[in-house]
Symmetry: C2
Subunit: 383 residues, 2 copies
């Protein structure tokens, strides 16, 4: 292991990963090696940056912490990947450039990784799909479907392994054999939540990864969910929120994505569903683009599509009618029958043209003939 990579690992055992002060101290110290040395020695770095006492205290026990972490990592087959390593997803470096959100920011010191794939390869084209824990059947189905479609299109699906939308997103990717990455708020050695142990195993067994910036054995503290969300957002080109109540944590992921300049998308739902309120609000606030289908997601992500996603439905008959026939259609009424001569007069057609046109319309099931006179009866698409 490179010395700086190892120093970042050590540092991650002393500080709270994601804490905004880590970024400042690292910047002042110039390297993790220097900062770890300073924490051990209790000597200041930079002019006015205090070394938090808890971190200095922890540095006195670094060797014991390192021993425990290494042991747990070996047991759970975790490896450490840090900036500078070839497997490091450089997308995460963007986190050093963004303003803190609720006390978190900064490039992770590194990631503990469970699974054989390379994080940097999986992050090349990745979409985050996140949402409510208490998802509806609608939301769960949509999350799976979008994850499967985008997985099929070559995207890695990133999510948080939580109940509800997260789990459905991972499962959608697994269903099409696409790689999926679970970013945990606790150590990557833990099966968290407990009920998702087999899901996490399947993720790792299908070319995906379980990752965390937290040390093996670290607990899922509330604040760690918030800092974890920044990793999900940064790993992916775009974040899709499927169901989120007004104050849902998945909106926090969306805000990270927005702050990072990533593509932010929201899937709408019935306005009667509180689980869609947060998504609708995000769209209203301009924090997310509305997407109504996985094709819309592909458009936002710049996927080259073979056909126009906004093309009219194939059953939109009106636009495919010849102009003459459309004119005749426009001259017909839903309320009263008209003779072919009436249609011709109104539409500016000859009687022969009008007769040909209504015959076409009749063949399409759009008009009816009553005693030799014509009446609109079919559904017209744009009236």
């Amino acid at each position: 292991m490179r010395r700086e990579s190892r120093a970042r690992l050590e540092l991650s055992l002393l500080v709270e990963p994601g804490d905004v002060r880590v970024r400042s101290l690292l910047l002042a110290a110039g390297s993790a090696q220097t900062l770890v040395g300073a924490l051990r020695a209790g000597t200041p770095v930079g002019d006015s940056l205090p070394l938090p006492e808890a971190w200095r205290h922890a540095a006195q026990h670094l060797d014991a912490r390192l021993g425990r972490a290494t042991e747990r990592a070996a047991e759970a087959r975790l490896r450490w990947v840090a900036p500078g390593d070839s497997a490091w997803p450089v997308q995460l470096d963007d986190l050093d450039q963004v303003e803190p959100l609720q006390g978190s920011t900064g490039t992770p010191l590194g990631l503990w990784v469970r699974g054989d794939a390379s994080p940097s390869v999986l992050a090349q084209r990745a979409l985050a799909v996140v949402g409510a824990r208490t998802a509806t059947a609608y939301g769960s189905a949509q999350a799976s479907e979008h994850a499967a479609d985008l997985g099929d299109a070559g995207f890695t699906i990133v999510s948080g392994a939580a109940y509800g939308i997260d789990a459905s997103a991972h499962r959608g990717a697994l269903a099409v054999g696409a790689p999926t990455v679970a970013v945990l708020a606790c150590g990557a050695d833990a099966d968290y939540p407990r009920g998702h142990a087999s899901l996490l195993d399947r993720i790792v067994g299908t070319g995906g990864l379980v990752v965390s910036e937290q040390a093996p054995g670290a607990e899922p503290l509330r604040s760690r969910f918030l800092s974890r969300n920044r990793v999900i957002a940064a790993l992916a080109e775009g974040t899709l929120v499927v169901e989120a109540a007004r104050r849902s944590g998945s909106l926090n992921t969306l805000h990270w994505a927005d702050r990072l300049g990533r593509i932010t998308m929201g899937l709408p739902g019935p306005v009667t569903s509180a689980q869609s309120d947060g998504v609708h609000q995000a769209v209203r606030d301009g924090k997310a683009v509305l997407v109504g289908s996985s094709r819309h997601v592909m458009v936002e992500l710049g996927v080259r599509l073979t056909d126009d996603p906004d093309a009219p439905d194939p059953d939109s008959a009106y636009d495919r009618l010849p102009l003459m026939v459309r004119r005749a259609l426009d001259a017909l009424s839903w309320g009263a029958t008209a003779s072919v001569e009436d249609v011709a007069g109104r539409a500016g057609l000859t009687t022969d043209e009008a007769l040909a046109a209504v015959t076409v319309l009749h063949g399409r099931g759009l008009v009816s003939c009553l005693d030799g006179r014509w009446l609109l009866t079919g559904r017209a698409d744009s009236a």
Copy 2:
């Protein structure tokens, strides 16, 4: 009746109301009186504007047409209101300023009005609520609810009396005793659609109006629905589309509203519903603002609300917790119990403060106590 108002009535019997050529010819002629005279005499107006032969031909039969229209109007108790009359809704004059859409544009020559109310009074604060004929139960309920809420807030509800969303919008207004205006594509004397005869009667009987720019007896030609839509959009400050399939005519109303600089709004729905596709697309295209509630509609319309529509839900406990308590909450884990001392150390609180904080959290049902140690168990709103 003023001479120009009467001339506009006559003109409306010779031409196709809403036809873009009417605006040009009126502009060239300077007045409806001059234009009717020119049509009768077959003399050109302006330099290069041809008088359509059908209209010149019709002018030869003006007296007969006028007789029939007057008779029908009297029977159906219709009155004619034209620009310059005190009952004229001046909002419609904006239509002379906008580019044609599918061959229609221009201020109506006048409106045939059924009902005692004044169109200009009803149009002072009006919202158009339109949408699919083949509405879902969700859409119909939403249309009624929004119409009722906005009716309650003092708005006239304008729609097209069609089956589906239109009918639900009218009914929602009727339910709260708010005035509602049905703009028909056929003559205002007709009960169209036939199944809505009693709905139209109730509209007129509850301080509302049934109006049309078409002559009494005029048939609901397909093209007239498109030109009718411009009248709906122009009468209202804003147009709300509730359910619209990809090529729905209600999107045509939305485009008119957009062209007129009115407020355009779309109510989202499940992405699995084809009836919401057109709405979602309009939001994506920036043609409509997403609204998730009637409060959102009020915000868009500039209604002064007594409370903040985007305030957190009253049950969003987290933000109402004291800072100290929130810190303790952030230091607790879903995965493992912690002692009060652990919480104090992580949160930077004294042991007494930490104990007080977890006691508060326990009282709110957010944490559990196991053997004197603490664990997150309640749903936290923002994690």
